[in-house]
């Protein structure tokens, strides 16, 4: 007696598992790399379009800054002023600093977060901005 048939079934399952992402992606929606939109009134007003820190740094580390600001303001409570690499000062505030320029949560924050399945818990405490769904 050989048990080859059962092993072939096992290998077919292995193969299906291996190609499952491809199958899933072909059947599901096509994924397009997100392009966060910075077309907001506040940003358009700026002469030099600059965030708190350089773009490449913000792209990878913005969550770190937000977390540090939260800890500094809510837990330590000594200062509310953030000094960036260029010596410029900012008010440590999600709603009054970040969201003032990036007032388009749906087309800015959510773009990448949805793409990467990241669910930041900013809006557990803060009130999410009301936007027209476009």
């Amino acid at each position: 007696m050989y048990d080859g048939n059962k092993i072939i079934i096992g290998l077919v399952v292995f193969g299906l598992l291996i190609i499952s992402p491809i199958l899933y992606n072909t059947l599901g929606k096509a994924s397009v790399p997100p392009e966060p939109d910075i077309n907001t009134p506040e940003i358009n007003k700026m002469v030099e379009k600059k965030c708190v820190e350089p773009k490449s740094f913000m792209r990878a580390n913005h969550m770190q800054i937000l977390n540090d600001w939260r800890d500094e303001v809510v837990r330590v409570g000594k200062t509310r002023t953030y000094v960036n690499g260029e010596g410029k000062e900012f008010n440590m505030s999600l709603q009054n600093t970040c969201m003032k320029c990036h007032s388009n949560k749906k087309n800015f924050c959510d773009k990448c977060h949805t793409y990467m399945a990241v669910k930041p818990y900013c809006w557990d405490c803060h009130i999410a901005p009301k936007e027209k769904t476009t």
Binding site: M1, I7, L11, N25, M63, K119, P120
Partner: protein
């Protein structure tokens, strides 16, 4: 030697990836060519190994049992520990694969005042379980890089893994557990003399390699952050067979990726094949029905048999003539 060689091999692998990206700028090699090659070796090697195992004949049931065999109706049989049906085997295998049931019976033998005593030894089982489950959850979590529209189940796994809500990005408990478990599994090999004696380079190398993968992943997520969306465009590119190297993804990502590629390519040739082997363990996955069913040995060839009836048919006249008794007249 058994520890130093694999240790420095992993260090060397990290340096290769670092130099390849930072000095030689071989992004295509480390981001596309090597991952594809490693993945191909993994899949083909895995299938060939399992196919070779599948060619082995199964002449007889050889399960190691630890319960009452099914016999008379009034003797209570152990359906899982001594399975007499496919259902029993499925439950037994599930317990073995998901919860390492046979390792749970691990014993420690010691001399106590000239007496041999067997004590329970569950630490290996616990660390093994913690390691394998964290690894599985981590692999599942990584599917967010390979699926366009991320299913709810994946988000749930991530949410549960990050439920402590420490820091940003959120700390995953499995990241801590896997590093701790691998460290324990390594220290165990070094600290127990008998175990150290039988441990080879092939035992230490996977431990160091997996530790390196986990550590580079942890460093990438929490310390030297990379452009994650760029990483996902690369991984989605692999699936569509038209990968493009994203800009400005940090070198730590390529180190992580190179170590994973080495693990995948090494996989089919190593002890790591136990992921396939555990399903094919004949002492676990066979029904104990030696007496219930006839199992034909596949290497039995047809033997030419000359029965007594045929013999008598052939020599009946001669037998009669010398007065020998015959069965048929």
């Amino acid at each position: 030697m058994h520890i130093a060689v694999p240790f420095f091999t992993v260090i060397f692998l990290v340096l290769i990836a670092y130099a390849g990206i930072e000095a030689a700028h071989l992004h295509v090699l480390f981001g596309i060519v090597i991952p594809y090659a490693a993945f191909t070796v993994f899949v083909l090697g895995f299938i060939l190994r399992v196919r070779n195992w599948g060619r082995s004949p199964v002449p007889f049931r050889i399960p190691t049992t630890c319960g009452q065999q099914k016999s008379l109706p009034w003797i209570k049989a152990s359906t899982v520990e001594n399975p007499s049906s496919t259902f029993g085997v499925i439950v037994r295998m599930a317990l073995e694969i998901l919860f390492f049931r046979s390792l749970f019976r691990n014993l420690k033998t010691e001399m106590h005042e000239d007496r041999v005593v067997y004590g329970s030894a569950k630490w290996l089982w616990l660390a093994g379980l913690a390691f394998h489950w964290s690894f599985l959850i981590i692999v599942i979590r990584h599917f967010r890089f390979f699926l366009g529209d991320i299913p709810f189940v994946l988000e749930m796994v991530e949410g549960l893994d990050a439920f402590l809500q420490i820091g940003a990005p959120l700390l995953y408990t499995t990241d801590i557990i896997i590093l701790g478990a691998v460290t324990y599994l390594f220290l165990r090999r070094v600290a127990i003399p008998q175990l150290k004696y039988i441990s080879l380079a092939a035992d230490y190398f996977p431990l160091f390699l997996i530790f390196g993968i986990a550590l580079s992943g942890v460093l990438m997520r929490y310390f030297f952050k990379v452009h994650v969306v760029g990483v996902k465009t690369l991984t989605m590119g692999w699936l569509s067979l038209s990968p493009v190297i994203p800009e400005n993804v940090g070198v730590i990502f390529y180190i992580h990726l190179f170590l994973i590629s080495v693990l995948l390519a090494y996989f089919p040739f190593s002890k790591l094949m136990h992921v396939g082997g555990v399903f094919l363990s004949p002492t676990r996955n066979l029904i104990n029905n030696n007496r219930m069913k006839r199992h034909v040995n596949p290497w039995d060839y047809p033997v030419h048999v000359h029965t007594y009836e045929e013999y008598e048919e052939e020599f009946r006249d001669k037998m009669k003539s010398v007065g020998l008794p015959v069965e048929k007249e």
